[in-house]
Symmetry: C2
Subunit: 363 residues, 2 copies
């Protein structure tokens, strides 16, 4: 392992609630802890194992909400307690990343951080690892804030876009011009035509020291609140400091707080079989289908006159369906949902309706 | 209790497998043990409680298959062991009733038997009990074989029909001319027009001695096999005799073996809110519906753009459905079935397909 690798730390963001995947995901057991693809491993576990190719387990940290701490340890028994950073409140990504950066900088002043979501799919791990290493090298050499940019293959309106400069700053590395949040369809199409746009997959690479400089400049209130605990980080007093201070930080994403403001932001365009697994349809799209275009995830199924359905249930469950086309069928313990695939965007509204019925125990 | 009542014994037939209600009914837990109507009681329990208005619990017997003995006791803890008659093989109703008649005649030479299915619905119990008592009186006074005839209200092709003589043999009692098994639609319609036809609900009333005389005359081979154990009935040797002898009896229904041949057969036309609960649709028809004509049995449901569905699931389950019309949705532990209501006759074929897939554990 060379010296760059020795300084690489991964911080996996695993605090999300994944309400779009209800009833498979629940408040008490969100998407990152689920085996959404029927591979026998949770998405968090897959993410962790992917990063073992980047750095040793003891340099992988997980940022999550306190309520999920035990589940993280269950899925990643390799972790020591201090590798799990617990947010006492949900304040979006900027405070969370600042906390991790401070802790890592104290651990290793030369630490290079990889920030990555816990619940995405990456199929080409070789390319992914190579791009991460390239980014880490560039970030540490140039004191740059680097984001991997996903080569877009459709005018998706559900992602943020990164606009980059055509001229490379280094081989394969481009300066970022702008970030655009979820565009409308016409705008997304123009982005694809222009060609110098990438999807923002939420994968960031930078030295802890570099990003903390950016916080001081662009999000100083967050920095000040969390820097106050410098002496407590990596001591037994860290959690009680965080419990007290963290809820006072501004709730804002790192994209808004830092990336859209900083001028040392670079991207590495990449194509490594990425999906954010953000919707049931994205799960449907990437999975193997039977001759009638049904995806049957894990469970036993007997389907007649049924096509285009996504069926997600316990491996021990037998699902018998006759005469359904293009439905999502999710059976998960105490909830069964049968929903037209075309209307999956209203699943969130359903969870609200369940809550309004006074049945929050199902959420 | 008058002397006629003292001689009344009820024999509830509870050996069926109910495969039309898979996956709610299973080989190991057939329909009679299920709370098909969401009333908090199994159909067997409802039948037993109905007959407590006819005779005391100690005069109620249950005929079932050996594999269901424990379940019968679980649902009817009032019963003593000797009140559960266990068939070692499924030989249809004629041998089963002959066995019960022999045992009861030995118990009480003046025994009047009521034979009744365990899994039907009767909503007007007052009329039912009155008709049973009337039938018991007539049967014991006239040495008659009496069947209650259900007043038909549609040209149903799934039932047997009883043709009776217009002139009454006694007030409300008519001699039976003929039995017709499930007719075709045109025949069933002509029966309804003629007016002197009733549905055969499988409820028989006769003295044990009277029906045994009929066995001697019309089904003597069954009688001989089972009469050989006369000395063993009501002793510790009864079950071992039955285990040995019973499988040798002819497998035939009491309708074919006795009722269609005997000349002392009478019927009492009656109307007491009867349903054989023979199909999911019959369950659907009798249950309370929401404004969109959905029947939600027991479970929690959140239905959108959904009508005419029958939803049957565990009381603790939450069922969310969008955009389905006229489906049967049955969720029962390890099986979920989503099936068009109009095609429910093919559910039996589905269970065969499940078996052919080598997944008999789900049946």
């Amino acid at each position: 392992m060379n010296s760059t690798q020795n300084n690489i730390y991964v911080t996996i963001m695993a605090g999300g609630v994944g309400s779009r995947f209800w009833p498979a995901s629940r408040n008490a057991r969100p998407k990152q802890f689920l085996d959404m693809l029927g591979l026998g491993k949770s998405l968090l576990r897959l993410t962790f194992e992917r990063f073992l190719k980047v750095c040793p387990a003891e340099q992988i940290y997980v940022m999550t909400n306190q309520q999920y701490r035990a589940q993280v340890l269950e899925h990643l028994p390799e972790l020591k307690g201090h590798q799990i950073l617990c947010e006492p409140s949900r304040n979006n990504t900027a405070p969370c990343i600042a906390y991790a950066a401070l802790k890592l900088k104290k651990t290793n002043p030369n630490a290079t951080m990889i920030v990555a979501p816990s619940d995405h799919l990456i199929t080409d791990e070789t390319t992914f690892v190579a791009k991460i290493q390239q980014a880490a090298k560039f970030a540490s050499e140039q004191q740059a804030l680097v984001t991997l940019g996903i080569q877009p293959h459709q005018a998706h309106t559900g992602y943020g876009y990164i606009k980059y400069q055509a001229a490379a700053a280094a081989p394969g590395v481009h300066r970022v011009d702008a970030f655009t949040e979820k565009p409308d369809k016409a705008t997304a199409e123009s982005f694809l035509q222009e060609g110098n746009y990438l999807w923002n997959g939420g994968i960031f690479i930078w030295q802890a020291a570099t990003v903390l400089e950016a916080y001081i400049q662009y999000a100083n209130s967050i920095y000040e609140v969390l820097y106050a605990g410098w002496d407590q980080y990596n001591t037994s007093k860290e959690q009680s400091f965080i419990n007290e201070a963290y809820p006072k930080t501004e709730s804002i994403s790192v994209d808004y707080a830092i990336m859209e403001n900083a001028d040392n932001v670079y991207t590495i365009p990449a194509d490594f079989g990425w999906s954010d697994l953000g919707t049931w349809d994205s799960i449907y799209q990437i999975q193997e289908k039977d001759e009638a275009q049904n995806v049957v995830s894990q469970c036993n199924a007997l389907l007649q006159d049924t096509s285009g359905c996504l069926i997600h249930a316990d491996p021990k469950k037998m699902i018998v369906v006759k005469g359904l086309d293009d439905y999502i069928i999710v059976d998960d313990k105490d909830v069964l949902m049968i929903f037209p695939k075309a209307e999956e965007q209203s699943i969130k509204a359903i969870t609200k309706a369940v809550k309004d019925q006074g049945k929050a125990q199902y959420l």
